[in-house]
Amino acid sequence: MTPDGDEADPNTVSERTTQRAPSDDPETRDRPSGSATMASVTETKPPSTGSSRTTSGGVGERVFRGLTTGSGLVVVAAIALIGLFLVVQAVPSLLANNANFLTSPDFNTSDAGNLRFGIRDLLAVTLLSSLMALAIAMPIGMGIALFLTQYTPARLARPFSYVIGLLAAVPSIVFGLWGILVLAPAIEPIAQFLQTYLGWFFLFAPGNLPVLTGTIFTGGIVLAIMILPIITATTREVFAQTPRFQIEAAQALGATRWEVIRMAVLPYGRSGFIAASMLGLGRALGETIAVLIVIRTATSPSHLSLFDGGATFASKIAAAASEFSQPLPTGAYIAAGLVLFVLTFVVNALARVVAGGKVNG
């Protein structure tokens, strides 16, 4: 009933934990072994409630702290090791590369003695399909979130949210099959229309495929559906937390439903919505199997059109995975994976920056 009262709690808790951490550190350094230290603690430390609690629960406290610290370090170590693995594996192939890694549209690794690979087209297809997915999913996700939090009574909103959640549970492979077998032929007339009337614009210009099915356009729509639940679920949470007193402020001025949304809900939820969209973008960038199935491979370079075919970083690597035997060609794909790794990192960092710029202090 009173969301405003709950706001302060997480902050106070996190402050308390961060304040505790440094004061506990010297103790750990003083006492390398566990058993013989009880006496030294009582001697060195003035009796206070804090220290007595540490002495009484000393072993358990330290074990637990060790476990949590360890868990935290595992994540950092895993990311560092993945990065290291990618770099170590990629460097020899990058050195042996006879094409420009960043600008070449080819990805030719069939001759291990003459590697010619570049990520230009992989990057183009990855970004075009992901950004198109985002452009579709962001407004729809926001619309659903607003519908669920502002227009629907609670007893209808709940089952509806479950359905959205179910969308997230559909396996990628199913999305892929549905995308190429059902969606692609169904939207072909739309693609045809766009190309006929908006073909002068580079995104809708004729692509490098002979057909209009299985293009980035198709893949983008499939990806949009796949990231919709992520964006919707997070955005719904944020919108639902809009403080009651902010909403009342707008209502009392005679704001209509939409004006309340514009004056209170959107300013409050803006950063959360953007962060949610970035999460969705991260998912779209890395999606593999659905893209592999939906977007056809192309034989000529990308035209930067939505009606191109081709491969994303992820689908290119997945398609070649069965042929990873020689280290140098394999390294070329790992280099592509490294770029994807960095790309998702950048997206996550952006999401963090945006979400960190809190609207309500």
Binding site: Q251, G254, P267, N360, G361
Partner: protein, 258 residues
């Protein structure tokens, strides 16, 4: 501007729960009427029916008549949004729009009504801030966000926002309960100034405040938890606090309950 309010046989329900029973009272224009009474007696509920804010709670409904200068605000064809544009409200907790500048906060209501003329908006902004005794403190930083002000200043900003649309009635729901004594005094002084132009209804838990700011006082009570609240009596503030008609009122204001 400054209209009178009449409540006739008003009953308020939340679903099946009968929250407030049979309220009859009149609020004359250009005066301050305070609602006092124990928690749960329905005084805030009654206040919220005066600008139809209670309708935001599912299942809430009103029976009887609430008239603004003789016109029923619940009449068929009148809608809550329109009512709220003429009956302003100030809340317990200061609630400026945190991302809007001070200026945009003040003129938010006017913008909702479609006023776009920048000169007119600036004029109203200054007049409203002056009216809320806030102009001197913020005139140099009108473009700064309203969330950056102190609690007392935020509440006066909310009052400025409410009077910017020149409401017929100004409702205040415990406007000082989140403020320190000095800010409270500033708001009470402001209420004294505002009643020259506005009809004001204020809900307060603070009986001294009711005695200080209001011309007439309505005392609400409830027999027991779960029973509907009711209006015990309404009279001149001086009379309520010196020589009330009802025994119940005297017990409450002198600190003897029940």
């Amino acid at each position: 501007m400054a209209k009178r309010l009449d409540l006739k046989d008003v009953d308020i329900y939340y679903g099946d729960f009968h929250a407030v029973q049979n309220v009859n009272l009149s609020v004359p224009p250009r005066s301050v009427t305070s609602f006092i009474g124990p928690s749960g007696c329905g005084k805030s509920t009654v206040l919220r029916t005066l600008n139809r804010m209670h309708e935001e709670i599912p299942g809430a409904r009103v029976e009887g008549q609430i008239q603004l200068d003789g016109e029923d605000i619940y009449a068929r064809g009148s809608d809550a949004v329109a009512v709220r544009r003429t009956i302003g409200m100030v809340f317990q907790r200061p609630n400026p729009f945190p991302t809007m500048s001070i200026r945009d906060n003040v003129v938010a209501g006017l913008k909702l009504q479609g006023v776009r003329d920048k000169k007119k908006l600036d004029e109203v902004c200054e007049a409203s801030l002056r009216g809320a005794n806030l102009w001197k403190e913020v005139s140099g930083r009108l473009d700064k966000p309203g969330g950056g002000l102190s609690g007392g200043q935020q509440q006066r900003l909310c009052i400025a926002r409410a009077i910017a649309v020149q409401p017929d009635v100004l409702l205040m729901d415990e406007p000082c309960s989140a403020l320190d004594p000095i800010s409270t005094l500033a708001i009470e002084d402001l209420i004294g100034d505002l009643k020259k132009d506005y009809t004001i209804v204020i809900v307060t838990h603070n009986m001294q405040q009711a005695a200080r700011v209001s011309d007439q006082t309505a005392f609400f009570n409830l027999e027991a938890t779960g029973k509907p609240g009711h209006l015990v009596e309404i009279d001149d503030t001086e009379k309520i606090f010196s020589n009330p008609t009802e025994r119940e009122t005297e017990d409450y204001i002198s600190g003897r309950f029940g």
